[in-house]
Amino acid sequence: MNHSLLMALLILAPFVGFLINGARYKKHSANVAGVIATAAVAISFISAVLLVLDLVAMPVESRKIAVSFFEWMAVDKFKINAGFVVDQISAIMILVITGVGTLIHLFSVGYMHHDKGVAKYFAYLNLFIFNMLLLVLGDNLLVMFVGWEGVGLCSYLLIGFWFTDKEKAAAGMKAFVTNRIGDAAFLLGMFVLFITFGTLNFSELNALAPTVAEASWLGAVTLGTLFLFIGATGKSAQIPLYVWLPDAMAGPTPVSALIHAATMVTAGVYMIVRLNPLFIMAPNTMMVIAVIGAATAVFAATIGMTQWDIKKVLAYSTVSQLGYMFLACGVGAFGAAMFHLMTHAFFKALMFLGSGSVIHAMHEEQDIRKMGGLKKYMPITHITFLLGWLAIIGMPPFAGFFSKDEILAYAFNSPFGSPVLWAAGALGATLTAFYMTRLMALTFWGKSRVPSDIHPHESPAIMTIPLIVLAILSVIGGWIGIPHVIGEHLGHIPNMWEHWLHPVISPIPGWQAIDHTTEWTLMGVSVGLALISAIVAYQFYVKAPETPKKIAESIKPVYNLVYNKYFVDEAYFGGIINPLVNISRNTWYYIDVNFIDKMTYWAGDLMRGMGSMVRSVQTGNMQQYAMYIGIGVVVALSFVVMR
């Protein structure tokens, strides 16, 4: 089929869904709104599949479908088209977005069935998909930025969906404002890149990149990519701008699954992979990215170990896994980053939807101290969640194992990486296994601590079917990226993922292929650590529940620090937000009210005074007026006579 038509369908179907549901925003029927919205995303999914099939059929050298709909701006040398590109990278993204998106829309029909604003909800979800597609399909930084901002807006609207609750509304605002800080950096990055290269188009930037290898901190490419990365930390919740993601759990659970696990938060990773030839040329930026990624992975994992809200645990887990993806980008393993992005989308969305099913069954209760032994009541949810758990802790042959191990291998072996980074990654993997097992144990296994007035039951089919599909993907999703070391023993199965992405990922300068023995050792160590950690957590939380409490008591100050999220939010409020508010307030009072307003009053009074003065000429005394006439005549005559 015609590529322009398919591209238009792909992008515009969700937008039309948004318009239709938006116009009917007062209606209460979840089914009608849900059908419209799901149909819109399904149409997008089908268009995406058709486009990717066409892409696969093309020869490798020209594997790119580019459609430009119109020229958006042309100011002197600055030319931007509304252009969209499907190539190897965006093909993965559009399939994930529309595919997982359709499943989550289906789930939402069941989850939001009783909500009053359900049409508005589906309108926002569709708008989000539209903006996300703009983000990944845009062929230049500016169209991507439109989508970037748009998904930020939809995130705000959906997090604060139940806006009558002040805390939830505040969470939405926190997300938006934190994102804005990142966006400011993104804009600066765009400016620097435009000044240096004269274009914002991805293919042109990537073509010009190899000419500008840099070692300094203040070079244009380093600065530009650093700013772009700071923008990515805002959108993808890395240190220092991650603080909005845990609060974003105030939104409905399917929103957390779609936006804050599978798609929006991966936008930063996508952006870096898109511009990977440029980033490769700035080793300093790469180092920053790798260090922040690794630090975030460990940091968030430690916090996740102490949380009691099921969604908060998953939120910190997401921050941690995003850290892995950035670590991969930082060491040059862009393909591995995309791989982990995809597998993470599957199992994290699965676990969020699973937690949504649990919350629904527990009548909106989210505290895992009040759960336990739910596997008897919710078998399907339990089995699918279990499969997701196995994937995230990195057990072979599930999806997470392949992607995470590839990242760790690159971290160890790449010229941009180091054993320290590998060690941080391995530590993060261990902690991940611990807190995820803790979550499973406290929620599904062991003795039931469910309060007697809640009777949990399995969710309806419309909610469990997406769970099953995502579980299947979590199991088999990793098999398209089997590394050579394993594949050669299984009958020469190729690493399809690497072959697919090979033309668009720059080779790492100075890369030497990893030694097979080393690779096996690394894999063994990480799987072993994860296994040990999981068994320890099982012991703690199922067999001997008193042990973790005693350990927490013995290290009380450390435990308090971690439990309170290292007091980062409080630090931000005290050090940045409150001083800014105070400065604003003082500026308002001393300058605006006291000075500027007084100036304007003074000007007004001056006018009034002058008016009164002039008014005094009008006495109503006719003879005075006649006198003025006379004086005027005298003056005029004197001019004439004196000439």
């Binding site: 003879q623 005075q624 006198m627 004086i631 005298v634 004439v640 006579v641």
Partner: protein, 178 residues
Amino acid sequence: MTADAFLFWFLAIVTLVSGLSVILLANPIYSALCLAMTMVGVSALFVTLNAYFIAGVQLIVYAGAVMVLFVMVIMLFDLKKDLQAFTRGILSGALKIASVGLLAGLVVGAIAISTGLLAEKTTDNPVTMGTGMESTKALGNILFSKYIFGFEALGVLLLVIAVGAVALARSKGGTHEQ
């Protein structure tokens, strides 16, 4: 002093003194009478300027009709003495007199500077030639040929004035309808 000179000076003094009396006397009746005297003086001056017809018209219209009108209206108001006849305020009064004086000075000065620029016509002067009748005839001639439009317009004006004056001073007051 020659006879015309003496006549001129006499008439000039009379007119000026009457004019000053008009503005200086407090009783409005006295002012009106002095104005009548001024009109007569001016009429006499017209005669010395060989404008006989105009002199007659001045006497009939001004001294005869307009002044009678003024006196009638003053009698209607029955004012014996004006309270506060002159404007108050020494400063404004002084300013007024000063401006008036300046104006006088300017006009006189202008006249003094500019005389000699106009050539006096002494021959073929329709004004001074002949007796009163010829100049009057010539006057009528010009009035009905060159200035016919103005003449007709004046007629209309007089009609409007007549109607207006009646409308303004009606018993129920001005132009207010019942």
